[in-house]
Symmetry: C2
Subunit: 335 residues, 2 copies
C-alpha cells in the first residue's frame, strides 16, 4: 500500500474515497483523526464534518468481557455470520495499552484471521486515550468514518475492566457482556456497574465439558436480573449461551440484537439515546479541544516543565503555579 498516495489528499478526497468504500483511505483517515498533531486537526474536522451526513445509520454494538473469555473468537464468529448475510462489519478494538503506539499491541489481525481477510470486514485498534474521555472521543469519530465508508454494523470491543466500558456504553446502541461459567464465579471480575449496562449476557464456551455449569450460571443470572430495576429502553436484559469456537449459538445473538433494535426504534429510545450521545460527544470534544488549545500553546509549552521543576523543588505551590500558567495562557492565547 502506497501511503504517499494520501499526501495531497484534501478532506473532499477522503470523503469521496470513503464513499467508494476504499479501506486504505479509511485507515488513513482514522489515523488523521487520532493524531494529536496540530497540523492534522483542521483536516480531521473537515473529514468528520463531511462524513457526518453519511453516518449514523449503522447498528453499533459494544462487546466486553474479561481477558480469556473468548472475545476475539466470538467477534470473529459473529462477524463472519454477518458478512455472510451481506453486512459490512467494522470492528474497533479499544486497546488500553496502546496510547502511544500506532499499531495494535494485541495483534488483532492475527487474533481474527478469518475476519481480517474478509473483504467486507474492517478491524482496527483504537488507542484508549487520556483521562478526559479521549477513548470515547476518538473511537466515536472512528465510528463516523466507518459508517461513511458503508459499514452498517460496528462492533466496539473493550476488555471489561472499568472506565473504558462506561465510555463505550455512551456510544453504542447495544451492549453485550461475554462471560464464562465456572463453579460459583459467574461474572467474576466484572464490575457491578457494568452488569447494569448490559443488554445481553452471553456465556461462551458452552460445550460438553461445561454444559452443566453453564445451565446453572444462566439460571442464576436470570434470577438475579429480575432484581434489577426496569431499564429506560424498555428492554429486559437477556442471557444466552454459545460456543464461539464451534460457531454455535451465534445466530441467536444476532436475532436477539435485531429484536432489540426493532423495539427501541419503535419506542423512541433509539433517537433519544443517539441524541444523548451527541451531547456527550459535544461535551467531550469541547473539553478535549480546550485542553489541546492550552497544551499546544507555545508559551505554555515553554513554561510548563519549568513550573513542574519548581513544584518539585518546593519553590512554588501547585496553586500559584497553576494560576501563573493560566495568566500566561490568557496573555498569549492568540500567539
Amino acid at each position: 500500500m502506497n501511503l504517499n498516495l494520501f499526501q495531497n489528499y484534501t478532506a473532499k478526497d477522503y470523503i469521496k474515497s470513503l464513499q467508494n468504500g476504499e479501506i486504505a483511505s479509511l485507515s488513513k483517515a482514522i489515523s488523521i483523526i487520532e493524531s494529536t498533531a496540530v497540523k492534522h486537526q483542521l483536516l480531521a474536522q473537515e473529514i468528520l464534518e463531511g462524513c457526518l451526513p453519511l453516518a449514523g445509520k449503522s447498528i453499533r454494538i459494544g462487546v466486553t468481557g474479561v481477558p480469556g473469555v473468548g472475545k476475539s473468537t466470538f467477534i470473529e464468529a459473529f462477524g463472519k455470520l454477518l458478512t455472510a448475510k451481506n453486512h459490512k462489519v467494522a470492528v474497533l478494538t479499544i486497546d488500553p495499552s496502546s496510547n502511544l503506539v500506532k499499531g495494535s499491541i494485541l495483534g488483532d489481525k492475527t487474533r481474527m484471521i478469518e475476519l481480517s481477510t474478509d473483504p467486507n470486514a474492517f478491524i482496527r485498534p483504537t488507542p484508549s486515550g487520556d483521562s478526559l474521555g479521549g477513548v470515547s472521543h476518538k473511537t466515536r469519530e472512528a465510528i463516523i468514518l466507518c459508517e461513511a465508508a458503508g459499514f452498517d454494523i460496528i462492533i466496539i470491543e473493550t476488555v471489561g475492566v472499568g472506565q473504558n466500558d462506561i465510555a463505550v456504553h455512551s456510544m453504542v446502541d447495544f451492549f453485550l457482556l461475554l462471560s464464562l461459567a465456572g463453579a460459583g464465579d459467574e461474572l467474576q471480575g466484572i464490575k457491578r456497574g457494568i452488569i447494569e449496562m448490559a443488554d445481553l449476557f452471553v456465556f461462551n464456551k458452552d460445550d460438553n465439558n461445561n454444559a452443566t455449569n453453564i445451565r446453572i450460571a444462566k439460571a442464576d443470572l436470570e434470577r438475579a436480573l429480575h432484581l434489577f430495576p426496569a431499564k429506560e429502553n424498555g428492554w429486559n436484559p437477556k442471557v444466552l449461551t454459545c460456543s464461539a469456537l464451534h460457531k454455535i449459538g451465534i445466530e441467536e445473538v444476532w436475532n436477539l440484537i435485531q429484536d432489540y433494535i426493532k423495539l427501541i426504534k419503535e419506542n423512541g429510545f433509539w433517537d433519544k439515546k443517539r441524541n444523548q450521545q451527541n451531547e456527550i460527544w459535544f461535551d467531550e470534544t469541547l473539553k478535549a479541544s480546550l485542553l489541546s488549545l492550552f497544551y499546544n500553546n507555545k508559551e505554555i509549552n515553554n513554561s510548563l516543565s519549568n513550573y513542574k521543576n519548581k513544584i518539585r523543588q518546593h519553590s512554588i505551590s501547585p496553586i500559584k503555579a497553576a494560576k501563573e500558567l493560566i495568566d500566561i495562557f490568557t496573555k498569549h492565547i492568540n500567539k
Copy 2:
C-alpha cells in the same frame, strides 16, 4: 454563629484565625475554596497560599467501605481514641450526592454524635465534584486548611464504590478498607482496584455472633494478600478486626498506622508520595482552572445553550459547535 463576621475578612484574617484554631473560620474558609463563584476564586487562592507553609504535617488517613459496613461508627470510635490522646482530628467525608448542596445530605453530625461535640474534632462533608477530578481538588485543599488550623490527623471518608476511592488514595498517606465478614462474601462489593490500594483491612462487627465468620474471612484474606505483588511503600498490607460499636480493637488500628508512618518516613516513601501528590494536585488545579476560565467566560456563557439547542435540532454537528465555541473563546478571552 454570626456569619457576617466574615464579611470583610481578608485572606490574612482567615489565615490568622485558622492559626488560632477558630473552627467557624475554618468552616467558612472551606466554603470559600469550595465555591465556584468567580468572586471567591482570588480569595480562595490567597487563603490556600498562606496556609500551605502551615500545612503538610498531619497524618492523612483514607477510610473506605461499602454502605452499612459501619464507617461512621468506626470513625467515631477511632476519632474519640485519638482526641483522648490529645490529637486534633478532622473528618472530611466525601458525599457523592451533594455536588450542589452546601450541607451534608448524609447528616454527618448526627451520624457521629460524640465526635461532633468534641472540641478537638471537626467534621465536614465535602462535595464530590465533577468529572475532572473535582473531588480530590477541593478535598485536597480542605486538608490544607484543616492542617493550618492545627488538626494533626485528617480522616477522609468515602463510600467505597469506585472513582472517589482512587481520588482519595491520591491524597492520603494511609488507606484503610473497612469490611464485613459473611459466609463467602468477604469484601463483597469492593472493586478489585481498591484492594490493591489498601494498606489495612479491618473487619468490623467482630462480636460473639460473628466471631467464626470473621476468623475465616481474616485467614482467607491474609492468604490472598500474599499473592499480590510487593508494594512500592515497602509495607505488607495487614488485616485486623474490630467492633467499632463496642470500641474493641480500635487502639490496634492506631498502633498499626503509627508503625506504617514510621516505616515510610524512614524509607523515604512519605516524601516521595507527598511529592507525587503535589504533582497530581498541580495537574488537577490547572485543568480545573482552565475549565473555569472557559465556562465562566461571558461570551461562552451567552453562546453555550444556543449551541446545545442547535445540536439537539441537528442544525450543527457537535464537532463544528465545539470548534466555533473554541474560536469564540480565543477571541473573547480577555473580555
